[in-house]
Symmetry: C2
Subunit: 365 residues, 2 copies
Amino acid sequence: MLSVIAVKLPENSYEIAIAPGSLTQLGSYINKLNLGKKILLVSNPDIFSHYGEIALTSLKDSGFDVFTHSIPEGEVNKTLDSIAQIYDTALENYLERSSTMLALGGGVIGDMTGFAAATWLRGINFVQVPTSLLSMVDASIGGKTGVNHPKGKNLIGAFYQPRLVLIDPQVLKTLPVREFRAGMAEVIKYGVIWDGDLFAKLEGADRLDDIAYLSEELLQIILTRSCQAKANVVGKDEKEAGLRAILNYGHTIGHAIESLTGYSVINHGEAVAIGMVAAGRIATKLQMWTQEEEIRQNHLIQKAGLPTKIPTDLNSEAVIETLQTDKKVKAGKVRFILPTQIGKVTITDRVPSDLIREVLEEIRI
Amino acid sequence: MLSVIAVKLPENSYEIAIAPGSLTQLGSYINKLNLGKKILLVSNPDIFSHYGEIALTSLKDSGFDVFTHSIPEGEVNKTLDSIAQIYDTALENYLERSSTMLALGGGVIGDMTGFAAATWLRGINFVQVPTSLLSMVDASIGGKTGVNHPKGKNLIGAFYQPRLVLIDPQVLKTLPVREFRAGMAEVIKYGVIWDGDLFAKLEGADRLDDIAYLSEELLQIILTRSCQAKANVVGKDEKEAGLRAILNYGHTIGHAIESLTGYSVINHGEAVAIGMVAAGRIATKLQMWTQEEEIRQNHLIQKAGLPTKIPTDLNSEAVIETLQTDKKVKAGKVRFILPTQIGKVTITDRVPSDLIREVLEEIRI
């Protein structure tokens, strides 16, 4: 089973290859790209202990000189300091413009490796091998790279496209169940904003809360259609001038929740799940879609084992205030992505603060 | 006198406007671009004391909200830490994606402001107002932005295009004479690599070693033709895939000299001047151009008050070793730009080390 998705951009088009067991073929996939022989593989200790050797063996068998760089796990390390350390390793190993930085890991590793690749020697080759569901269907596609500022997530970064994204669904078997669910939040998002068929397929599944219950076929469909949805949107709007903003469905309030809970209690997918519930409710109240559709969405979120309520200790005023400092604020107005039906959304900056407040209170635990 | 040069790129084309007194019109120039109202002006204390008020007044008169950020003078401050400080100011003033970072200063300010603009919120608007001859004819055009790594110059950075480059030749009156000469090194470079007419015009001038002896007309010609040369080259090869490398004429050995003298004793333009003398001699020895042309080049370099000899205390072996760590090294081979006639160069990685050594010894003081 091999699905190949072409991400078509004005410059720097590339492919996403999705195939069970493909990690063992990593070297030959990269060989086809005609890049230089030096590769800096960036990972974290846990991922590296599971998949480092498989990746290294495949790369070395294909004749690459591979160096490794490890970053301790966690969003807390997604800093400019960690990037400076990648630079040091790049310098020590004489990486050249034709060399490649390869991210083996989840979104944090991918975002940082991408930013380091974007800014070392003003940009060297970058390959993504995502190992979490979240990074497979979201972070690894679309060229967003970067790190956090002490006062805000992802404020520092660059748009930089990989030369290849290689997805091996088999690596998801070692993913903690909570992280699998977090990835499902983004999958459900694609169903709501873009792909009503994907949404229906998810509704048809017996369970969505643990990869153990998913068939290899359904997993391939989920990955392929999610990546395709993201690739379509990014292909039409690489630099987030307009359409691409729809990918932020659930993220407006989601980011505020993450930020206020210190990026630790609630993970990104969980925050997006709650954000989708909030946005869905706002849309119902504005009569943009039906309550029936809102219920279908929330049912799917619950089926994936994701939260649908805001934690009680989170102050609504604090959420509203945090919305104002979000990157997506334009001329002081908070921008919301709201569904108009399953598979379709619209962008608006005309949601009254009172309505946001009302909804935040309603969906409290 | 207004010259407008269009820099045509696949994406993000922009204009270079060159006009005496144009700094007082800065606000209306930017107004035409339809950007957001917030501008972060980045400068250094010296430049700001001369031109800050003129720029601020013009921007405010055009209705912009202007914030300022100052970086202490000098290449030593061109670090990732300084960038982090620009980020802090950007955050404090709630810069948005539609906002602009404006560099008022020389190459160091331009490179850093450009890199901060490229990486804040994954890229906001960037405007260059270069105040040194070097930054007018070189650094401000072509989208190279970045900072130094403790172990190498400009190793960290991004290709990022400004929305506008505004050049007011009148600000050169306060430029120290040594820095004016450093800029002339790049002007002479354009004559050698691209524009034989410019070279002839420079040969026709009485003196080139001090701006006080240049007519307003000649200065306008020098700026316009130099910018045009760079814009032409960059327009054909934005990301340095091939042709753009010719802009590095004189820089291969030049960078090594700068690096070995700690970026302080010899400035960039002086190092490039010596690098051109070395490259010119190599070309003569390889019979790529004539000795007569080499002499014409060296005469012009001397007329601009620039050095033509390598300092005695600089070890030739150290220079050769340093060449190996340069960004321009490809698969371990040192790449040289060599003139084939006045106005034309070629790129080669086949200069024997022995020949480099021989030339380095010959042009020693």
